[in-house]
Symmetry: C2
Subunit: 122 residues, 2 copies
């Protein structure tokens, strides 16, 4: 019955993210209960994303709460962005659009944690 089982299985797609170098940022707001603070942060983030320098793909997300011990759900927003190379990631960091975003959001952000990683599939 292999053929039938195969027909019934959910399709599996799994494409690799575009871009070899991935920059994952997790953001804790000063006041996570403030609607104005959240609106101001989202406005600045979406404006930045519209013209994101050097990026290949991105995810801008809001925390999903979890009770699992290994899941950190104390943060507020995630921003995951990929680049074709580490050089492009460094260019992004010093791009004027990035600096504008940092200036617009610095009063809203308590702290961030960043993880940078390079494709390990080859």
């Amino acid at each position: 019955m292999r053929a039938e089982e195969s027909t019934c299985a959910a399709p599996r797609i799994n494409p690799e993210m575009t871009g070899d170098s991935v920059h994952s940022v997790f953001i804790w707001l000063v006041d996570r209960e403030s609607k104005e603070g959240r609106a101001a942060f989202e406005w600045a983030m979406k404006k930045f994303i519209k013209d994101l320098p050097y990026a290949q793909s991105f995810h801008f997300g809001r925390v999903i709460a979890s009770e699992r011990e290994v899941v950190d759900s104390s943060y507020d927003y995630s921003f995951i962005v990929s680049f074709n190379s580490e050089e492009d990631m460094r260019r992004y960091e010093t791009d004027p659009a990035h600096k504008t975003f940092l200036t617009e959001t610095k009063e809203l952000i308590d702290h961030i944690v960043i993880y940078d990683s390079r494709d390990s599939m080859e």
Copy 2:
């Protein structure tokens, strides 16, 4: 000279990652210096990725070292995977392929940190 400036600018692509719910896992190995440990972990990870249940896109990466204070480069591997819904993310967590992967790697992993997030672009 707007037109010329526009012609000279780098192309900006920035597609949103496929999948609304993103599961970001950062992994610290028991022994980051062990070539055998790294090879065994990568083997299990790549085997798991070949048939990743419910996933829409993924990134499997190795840490990029950084001296920046906000960058955590103490971890060894990142695994970022997106799903069409939170329900698919939960199904992935309990899928037999995921359980096999956890069994195969539990002696190699010191600890992990997970961040789950939902698309916030709408």
